[in-house]
Symmetry: C2
Subunit: 427 residues, 2 copies
Amino acid sequence: MDSLKVAVLGAGVVGSQVVRLLTEQKSELAQRVGAPLEVIGVAVRDPKRSRHGVPAELLTTDASSLVAKADIVVEVMGGIQPAKDLILQAIANGASVVTANKALLSREGSDLVLAAEKAGVDLYFEASVAGAIPLLRPIRESLAGDKVNRVMGIVNGTTNYILSKMETEHATYEDVLVQAQDLGYAEADPTADVAGHDAAAKAAILASLAFHTKVTIEDVYCEGITKVTDADIIAAEEMGFVVKLLAVAERMGDDAIVVRVHPTMVPKSHPLANVRDAFNAVFVEAESAGELMFFGRGAGGAPTASAVLGDVVAAARNRVTGGIGPGDSSYAELRKLDISHARTRYYLHIKVADRPGVLAKIAGVFADNDVSIQVLHQDGRGSDASLVIRTHKASDAALAATLSGISKLDVVDSIIGVMRVEGERGE
Amino acid sequence: MDSLKVAVLGAGVVGSQVVRLLTEQKSELAQRVGAPLEVIGVAVRDPKRSRHGVPAELLTTDASSLVAKADIVVEVMGGIQPAKDLILQAIANGASVVTANKALLSREGSDLVLAAEKAGVDLYFEASVAGAIPLLRPIRESLAGDKVNRVMGIVNGTTNYILSKMETEHATYEDVLVQAQDLGYAEADPTADVAGHDAAAKAAILASLAFHTKVTIEDVYCEGITKVTDADIIAAEEMGFVVKLLAVAERMGDDAIVVRVHPTMVPKSHPLANVRDAFNAVFVEAESAGELMFFGRGAGGAPTASAVLGDVVAAARNRVTGGIGPGDSSYAELRKLDISHARTRYYLHIKVADRPGVLAKIAGVFADNDVSIQVLHQDGRGSDASLVIRTHKASDAALAATLSGISKLDVVDSIIGVMRVEGERGE
């Protein structure tokens, strides 16, 4: 059979690994696909820079001409443009596309999906969420006969590394961030990670697939880890919890979803609590399948390239057999509710005056807003007196009202910690 | 588009749930597939028995006539015959087949795969290993561009439940087994589970897929949990380990594999150690992807039916788009070595005489057989004196020779515990 022509856009950490694997595993891949895969070129901006072993003769700066000749286009250049136009060009030419571009997918994913569907070509993007972990394919295909109710994931390795270190070393956020930067786990400008933007992009992609609904990053409530204190971590520890940055997408009733990213207390007995350091994991609750978890490395050149290669093989096989993989149409069109509709438990740490009647006043505010208290501890005396409260499930709106009410009480000095709690059973 | 005709063989716990889901999710499934799925009949042996809500008009005892009319055949009857002949009939007719039959697949899987490949139809069997957990599809498709080095799984819920209870309640194997039988977690005749046969069948299926090699249950070394004592569990606990029944399939050098099922000590920090009760999990080590884990419910009607439905949707989509899923050919043809070639660490608990020179003699036997000691504890005095030893990695053959040598020493009273250790890094 004729070989399939593969164009690679981008020769960074991932692109160079993709080229390496396509070359090294050539004969094995040909057996799996049913036809040889041939890398016809690698598009880069500056062909003079070192390319981690990509042969110089493959390099080109003319991405568009390269795309025009390809059967399969692998886009690992990142960014919105020119990535988007090149992908659309490839689709219009009848080529299949594999991309790892979460920024693009979380903003314009549904346009790309629609274009691919109309053109009858495959658009795969396993590597865009949780790197090497096979996650999107299982959700899209293995759970195709099931109904997903909830997806809850640790999808950003940098923040998980920072939170894990804060937990094990009882260090401050600032100290651990510097450590992480020294080790290369965090960028010099860590905003995209620590502010939750990266996790929010992945949450949008996951939610789109899991709920067959168009979800963009603008639909995702996003709160990073920059305000997590060592006091929060210690309080979690004392209650048998750990703090994780979770991306949560969940069904609300029959026709709506809420998608959110925020620091979260998770009980130590929950499978997500044991996911440490730079590892990623996604926990899925489906109607029939029950609880599932997918765990592995979320980033890195080789792991991400492994996911890209899996997609390339799938797209290539489809071309050989004449089929096309399942699309990701947004036929369900669920409504996207904002965070005020989310229902979770909350942890609150309140500094209070040490005098009789404080508890009654505070409990009154909870009751007025219909927020039920699950556990309450009074700690310290005198100027150190504080209350630690965990609630039953309540809406975000009800909690916001409760917080506002409490902060106005004269017996309350300050609210020193608030965090959502996930992963316990029941209401 | 014309509807696709689905025949279901078997109306037990799984079959009835499959029919329920196909009926309840009819319109959603039609959207995902691109054509409606119609259940044209359910083959049973005795149509008079209650069928968990399967409509009586669908029941038939003539499985062969039903198969002859189907586009997709779902085999959830179990056992070798008539399941095998019906599947081969379906394939010969050009129908796609979805089966959950691990007994059949672990014995004659490669015949079925070959027949499906020749006929150009899909043969899917996600539900045969680890129930609802999407596992075979990720290994087959997502890791298609990677190289799997090791698969290590908790694939039997009954034994995991028993071992978890022995651990948390410090109860004996016999007591927990009775409890598990009362709760329905273990069969009246628990042999298939506790002797490791069920896990061995799944190990064969997993190994075939992961290593593209024909592996049957006869190739799998199999040791159950019936000899695991509370002393083993306590010793593991003291060392920071837990005891799990693991199915392990691993690459040995370039051209061979070993596949084995046995009780194993796993460090508490390993992701598999936290998989408790009836849950299943499979840990995969791949060259590029690194460490992955898949976690979820291994059994039960609804979870298993979810996996079957995912396969039905994939097979149905392939019929609509004219494609065919990736096959599971055994092109790699790796050699299957027996257990004596496996290299693991070992835990040994030896009752010894309390007199000088004991340790030197025992250490001498280890050295003679080239087995290196990693950790050693001497416990107790007088008639209670014992040695607890954990070794570095050694071959099973070397350990067998060591055990034989030790048991012949006059200073050794008896060997009261031996177990393989997995999940630590390094040699």
